[in-house]
Symmetry: C2
Subunit: 277 residues, 2 copies
């Protein structure tokens, strides 16, 4: 790494790092298309995404000075026109508005997600997609993406009532998978499922009242798994119109966490489709 | 519900509700055997546990005044000698030290967990136990218990380096399962696994480098599943000494979240053991 590349910040009010000020509050407002990446693993995913042909770009890095040496390999993956700002702990904490344990931040941006129809039209013949309906919890959205990546899903299709996966915490919980897995998030769940059905997808809604146990299904060539929220679950109209599956478990308990349930169901389906080697 | 049972608190400094003051900070100190239960579902689990023959007792409830009517069924499950304190929002927030969305709190206590040998000796012939090694994250501990309950595990055995499952957040994430599933947490992982091996348990350590894919194992009559941390995983000595299993997934990615991985593995094993109906 060329040490001349590092730009030292000593004033928390410096305009060059304005995107990082009070990032907790800022996160709540959700800046369209721009996002904060946190931690080494997500930074590394950002570097990969920036180098690819996808919609994600890195804008700038802000690092704790004493972390720089250990991060030189990752820094080198960013082209020279991505500025790397460094600061001491006190300055960094004053910028962020709280104590940053890790001291690794970046700002990235991505073009508006593709529209649903064009994303679906680009999916391979043998495709697995994960659909989220009404998932507003940032941890759960992050978990959906982490599991989608882990179990080879080709895309994540969120309905318009799901929260933005670019939120700082969702991105962190996804371990950066939000930057790697294609997704859409503009349409109603009816439109998403209608588009998938027209494209020949077999649609499985997951629900504690599902008619088939998930480990017993024989999935087709193109499969969509639909996840609802923990409390209300999926709308009855969806459960009636499409296939529904349940995860066998101890009777009389609260259902599983959405992230865990999506992991179990994706694992079972991807395995039955022969996608997991 | 007898409204005469409700005791109104108007002074945040009232000694009768001292256990609830500044519960966030208090949580960090971890009071031996005493715990804070939060939310309706956990309160309901506390009522059940208090009524049972186990080590868990409810000491007192503190509720937001406008939540009382909706909670009368749950309140009635606690015997009359468990005091029910009520307060308005401003008083309750001043007591807790932050804004409580839900307004449902209780203090409970439990006797010291049983020692490992006596807990293991009480397990049924056909048993499934979950072992945690080095799990220090409160969310992950909570997830282990939630999944253990969901997939019929008879006990959770934590090594001495795991965090206390009675922490407020672990208890909340477990949706109260910490109060229902028997557990121990005093010994080293070597002692835990040695005790289980002597008691005839087949021991499966879960690891990305495991030799058998988890969906393909034919488990015996008594099975223990061992989970390590996300970063370091399980010690090599454990992976060498016992059976090891992996969850098939996309190559080259960070491993799954511990909670999700425990859910997938417990589901696969409990299903193969014929425990899930």
């Amino acid at each position: 790494m060329d040490a001349g590349r590092l730009i030292e910040i000593t004033d928390p009010g410096d305009a060059r790092i304005a995107e990082f000020t009070s990032i907790r509050e800022r996160d709540l407002t959700g800046r369209q298309g721009q996002f904060i990446a946190e931690g080494t693993v997500v930074l590394s995913m950002l570097a990969k995404a920036h180098g690819g042909s996808g919609p994600v770009r890195a804008e700038k890095l802000l690092l704790l000075k004493n972390r720089v040496a250990g991060l030189s390999d990752v820094i080198d993956q960013f082209p020279a026109d991505v500025p790397v700002y460094v600061a001491e702990t006190a300055v960094l904490d004053a910028i962020a508005g709280f104590h940053l344990h890790r001291g690794v931040l970046a700002v990235g941006s991505r073009a508006a997600p593709p529209d649903l129809a064009s994303l679906v039209s680009q999916l391979p013949d043998n495709a697995l997609v994960l659909v989220g309906c009404g998932i507003s919890n940032h941890d759960n959205i992050g978990a959906l993406f982490r599991n989608a990546a882990g179990f080879t899903a080709d895309a994540v299709l969120l309905d318009e009532t799901c929260c933005d996966p670019l939120y700082r915490k969702a991105l962190r919980v996804s371990v950066g998978s939000v930057l790697a897995v294609p997704y859409a998030r503009k349409e109603s769940v009816e439109t998403v499922l209608g588009t998938l059905a027209e494209a020949g997808f077999e649609i499985w809604a997951l629900s504690p009242s599902g008619t088939v146990e998930i480990g017993g299904i024989k999935p087709g060539r193109r499969v969509a798994l639909v996840m609802g929220t923990e409390g209300e679950g999926l709308p009855a109209a969806i459960l009636e119109r499409f296939h529904s599956a349940r995860i066998a478990q101890a009777p009389g308990l609260d259902s599983l966490n959405v992230g865990t349930a999506s992991g179990i169901a994706l694992y079972a389906i991807a395995r039955a489709m022969g996608r997991l080697g």
